[in-house]
């Protein structure tokens, strides 16, 4: 949507989540919105990079109340109690920041996390500008841009509605080795391969593992991915989300044709979807530019939030009738 149209929505006091390049978000008036920087999108025409328009998710017609809150590394745990009973929260977190790492490492230990949905995404930049520009979040009420604070909008729903947060993950565990780690972290030098300690980079190289395939953990049926960022025999393996001790991972089975596989699992009924996002790695590895993922549109992000941080996964929220 062009900036002028977004500003018209803001002026009409619509309650919004905005995704766009930093230069366009800076042109949006203050109002009841939160936002995050990202120039990659899945729109009605397919995957694209767009630095002129804004992707708008408008909650106004489905909610009864909202509250916008900022979270730094000190007050992040208060996110849980700020959520609205029976409602849901939408969270944007700046990529590659301390708050990103803290959220990813700690959120699963927060009490009652799974009682109220928290959906959202990790903000990013044009990949060609990595290291030059930093991903940011925005509190639209104050107009503040953050490099190291998350921003959430907590939303209440009418009594006759409830939210449902789901994922579409085309990856599942392969039949290979069981990989475990002795500590939580966004990087690992060592891993346990079927219980035996190994240099993880050597393991990846010696086994000729395609690093576009994520590590996959089976959370009682939910496949949760950890994507590999880089492989360095000295520094170890860097990940886009943390590996956790006490969790068993396997390298994913390859997905031959993402679009075909996606269209086989996408819900047939998408009219209740109020928002979704997909991963930049799916966009890159599956070459989604110009290709559609059903009717689901949204930003293409540097990490997706479905209660916890996930990678290479589409996340979407529906509002259902009780």
């Amino acid at each position: 949507m062009p900036v002028s149209e977004v500003n018209a929505l803001v002026a009409a006091k619509r309650v919004l989540v905005l995704a766009g390049n930093e230069n366009v978000l800076k042109q949006i008036s203050k109002g009841s919105w939160i936002g995050g920087t990202i120039p990659y999108f899945m729109n009605d025409s397919g995957g694209c990079i767009d630095k002129e328009r804004v992707f708008v998710t408008d909650f106004t017609d489905v909610i009864t109340e909202f509250k916008i809150c900022d979270y730094n590394t000190a007050n992040l745990p208060s996110l849980i109690n700020d959520r609205r009973s029976g409602g849901f929260s939408w969270l944007v977190v700046p990529g590659f920041s301390q708050i990103h790492y803290k959220f990813a490492l700690e959120v699963s230990s927060y009490p009652d996390l799974f009682d109220i949905p928290v959906m959202g995404w990790i903000t990013g930049v044009d990949l060609s500008e990595l290291g030059k520009n930093s991903p940011k979040t925005v509190n639209g009420l104050t107009g503040t841009f953050y490099e190291n604070s998350a921003v959430a909008i907590h939303l209440s729903l009418p009594d006759n509605k409830y939210p449902n947060l789901e994922i579409i993950n085309l990856f599942e565990q392969g039949s290979g080795d069981i990989l475990t780690f002795n500590e939580d972290g966004f990087s690992a030098k060592e891993c346990l391969v079927n219980g035996k300690s190994m240099n993880f980079a050597n393991y990846i190289i010696q086994n000729n593992i395609d690093t576009r395939l994520p590590l996959v953990a089976d959370y009682s049926g939910a496949m949760i991915n950890i994507s590999i960022q880089s492989v360095d025999q000295e520094k170890g393996i860097a990940f886009y989300a943390p590996v956790l001790k006490n969790i068993e991972y396997k390298i994913a089975k390859p997905v031959d044709n993402y679009i075909k596989a996606f269209n086989q699992v996408i819900p047939s009924e998408t009219s209740k979807v109020i928002g979704s996002c997909n991963c930049i790695l799916n966009y890159l590895y599956s070459e989604l530019e110009g290709k559609k993922t059903g009717n689901l549109t949204g930003p293409i992000t540097f990490g997706e939030i479905a209660y916890v941080l996930v990678n290479q996964t589409m996340v979407f929220m529906t509002i259902e009738d009780k």
Binding site: F114, Y162, I167, Y219, S220, A222, N246, A306, Y307, K322
Partner: protein, 72 residues
């Protein structure tokens, strides 16, 4: 209607005695979290089962399909 807490399936789910194909993301994540807590001895099996039962009461509509699968 949520099945009574005395049904053995609650503890069987957490202990892994039964592994139905649950489809709701939040149910999967909650169950996994409780399984992990029990395996790390942070809570006992009975407390975890009680927690899961209470959780499902609050999310009854959302989990109806999964509960029907578990409590055949």
């Amino acid at each position: 209607m949520i099945p009574d807490i005395n049904r053995p399936e609650w503890e069987d789910l957490i202990s892994g005695q039964i592994t139905p194909k649950i489809t709701s993301l939040s149910f999967q994540l909650k169950l996994n979290n409780l399984k992990l807590s029990v395996s790390l001895k942070k809570i006992d099996l009975k407390s975890a089962a009680n927690d899961l039962h209470k959780y499902c009461i609050a999310q009854e509509k959302l989990y109806q399909k999964d509960l029907n699968l578990i409590f055949k």
